[in-house]
């Protein structure tokens, strides 16, 4: 992993980057925050290579696959992530404890169904830490749930032929024991 040299301090006079979502909302974010989104960083680096002479400090980056709602949440998460990292630069254990605490609080304000939306956004933006966190959160939300609950959760339908699923279920009947009520 590369050394994080960007300053997470919001009062610093670093460049702002403007992100435009699919529903035409515009977000102005610190460069340090935007650079955690690898997709944005890639775009930004390509632009800079193409326009070496342009002295603009504000860049507009269109994100046609991300809506404003998940992006706002991801920006908040990212800011906090950088802040915790900066506060515990020399203590990895403390950082993990702070991060865990923040993530627990974070999940109290998020509906489980919102998590899929966040996973899609984090995946598209290629924001690895957030993707890992949301995948863990979804896993613990569905861990003890029924197959039917999981289908509803992800908006999926069974595509097994009639009888096929029952036959499979019979072989692994034990894995259906002790499942939570939906």
């Amino acid at each position: 992993m590369s050394n994080q040299s960007e300053s997470p301090n919001p009062t610093s006079s670093s460049n702002k980057i403007t992100l435009k979502t699919s529903d035409n909302e515009v977000f102005e974010v610190e460069e340090a925050v935007a650079m955690k989104f690898c997709t944005v960083k890639q775009y930004f680096d390509d632009e800079n290579n193409n326009n070496v002479t342009s002295g603009t400090s504000t860049t507009l980056i269109p994100l046609p696959n991300v809506e404003s709602h998940p992006l706002a949440i991801l920006i908040t998460y990212c800011k906090k992530h950088l802040e915790i990292k900066a506060n515990n630069a020399d203590n990895k254990k403390e950082m993990e404890i702070d991060m865990e605490h923040y993530e627990r609080e974070f999940l109290k304000n998020v509906m489980p169904q919102e998590l899929t939306e966040l996973i899609l956004a984090a995946n598209y933006l290629n924001f690895k830490e957030a993707l890992d966190f949301f995948c863990r959160a979804v896993a613990s939300a569905i861990q003890n749930k029924s197959v039917e609950y999981v289908r509803k959760f992800f908006g999926l339908e069974s595509d097994f032929k009639p009888g096929e699923e029952e036959k499979l279920r019979e072989e692994f009947a034990w894995s259906f024991e002790g499942v939570d009520e939906d």
């Binding site: 269109p62 696959n65 993707l131 995948c135 999926l156 072989e171």
Partner: protein, 396 residues
């Protein structure tokens, strides 16, 4: 600035297989098995060989002192019967808490008859029993209790006159594979001819045995005539056993990756002054160790010598610690904290944990233990998912 677009996602509102994979890989095995039935694509993600082999995860608990896995003698066990009723035994796994109390993790019925539990490695158990058809052959069971699957492997049929048979079980990380090592020494019936030692290696991914004679790189002894029958110790990518040639004793190591045998020297003259009762190889705080239990030849007290090879493979690095030990003791394993787990045969069979630093010992709450093994990390895995529940393979 040009309105260059960032590339589009293929499907807008559905998670890709990769994302489903990322979520599933964070679940316990039981949930993964259940969610195969969500849809055909989820089923194919779970049954993909790449997913299965990456799905070996530890039960998260950081402050424990390893896991003891044991069976008990059945309640109606009558000691004069040579073979107790195996059918009624459950395999019980407990986590050892730091204060030497135990917490049960699982209790599962063993779905076949067996004689001994050889070991546990990366989610798979290996058990053995003599073949009912042919006594020179063995049945070896690989069993994944989490997904309730097992397979039976018949060993290669050997000559009837074996002097020792040693089993070892190892995980091969470079190939994500498992290997069973079976070392067989034959009796010297023709008197003047040297005894013969052979190795048989079973590879799980190819479901096949290979047989070859044991040749040790730059070996300083003569032909191997016997190998200790305790299960080989898997450590540092190799299986280790104590082996004997006519006048020489050493540690025979089998590298799981390059499949070559090497010699590791035992401490020099380590039995001077001790009448040996038994000895075992172990891993003590990350080093190869030799545990010797015997009687001091001068004061006749029962002692335990703990030899630690601080630098792996370097014979000069053996260091000794001497502690008192009850004579009716069978060494099982060293715990993460460096205690010795001992099976003690008093009026009752008990499992005790002995701290060689403080010399304190504590009886663990396992009454009437039969088979007892220890593992630092109890992992779940999907290995053997394709097996029918009673499928067997044989080659002989």
């Amino acid at each position: 600035m040009g309105e260059r677009m960032v590339p589009m996602m293929s499907q807008h509102h559905h998670l890709s297989d990769q994302m489903v994979y990322d979520i599933l890989s964070r679940l316990p095995v039981k949930s993964i098995i259940r969610f195969r039935y969500v849809s055909k694509s989820w089923n194919s993600i779970v049954t993909d060989p790449y997913f299965k082999f990456n799905q070996a995860k530890s039960l998260s608990n950081n402050s424990h002192n390893g896991y003891v896995i044991y069976t008990k003698y059945p309640q109606k066990y009558i000691p004069c019967l040579q073979y107790p009723q195996h059918e009624v035994e459950d395999l019980c796994t407990v986590v050892c808490n730091s204060d030497n109390t135990l917490t049960e993790v699982s209790r599962i019925e063993i779905p076949f008859l067996y004689e001994s539990i050889v070991g546990f490695c990366n989610g798979l158990f290996i058990l053995a029993s003599p073949s009912p058809m042919n006594h020179s052959s063995q049945y070896i069971y690989l069993w994944n209790p989490i997904i309730r699957k097992f397979m039976r492997v018949a060993s290669i049929r050997g000559q009837p006159s074996t002097s020792s048979v040693t089993l070892g079980f190892a995980y091969h990380p470079r190939k994500n594979d498992f290997k069973i090592l079976r070392l067989v020494c034959f009796k010297n019936e023709g008197k003047l001819l040297p005894a013969k030692a052979e190795a048989e290696v079973y590879t799980l991914s190819t479901a096949s045995w290979r047989k070859f004679s044991i040749s040790v790189d730059s070996f300083s002894g003569s032909t191997i005539c016997r190998i200790s029958e305790s299960p080989s110790l898997f450590f540092n990518g190799a299986l280790h056993s104590i082996a004997f040639s006519i006048d020489y004793k050493f540690i025979l190591s089998f590298d799981v990756d390059d499949e070559r045998f090497r010699e590791i020297r035992l401490p020099q003259n380590y039995l001077v002054g001790v009448s040996l009762r038994n000895e075992w190889l172990a891993i003590l705080k990350g080093s190869l160790a030799l545990i010797v239990i015997g009687d001091d030849q001068i004061d006749l007290s029962s002692v335990c010598h703990i030899w630690v090879m601080t630098e792996y493979g370097v014979a000069k690095s053996w260091t000794k610690k001497c502690v008192p030990m009850d004579k009716h003791s069978k060494f099982l394993s060293c715990t993460i904290d460096g205690e010795l787990l001992i099976k003690r045969y008093d009026l009752k069979v008990r499992i005790v944990s002995f701290d060689p630093e403080s010399l304190k010992e504590e009886v663990l709450g396992i009454p009437d233990p039969r088979d007892v093994i220890y593992t630092t990390n109890f992992v779940e895995s999907l290995v053997l998912l394709d097996q029918l529940s009673n499928e067997s393979y044989s080659l002989g």
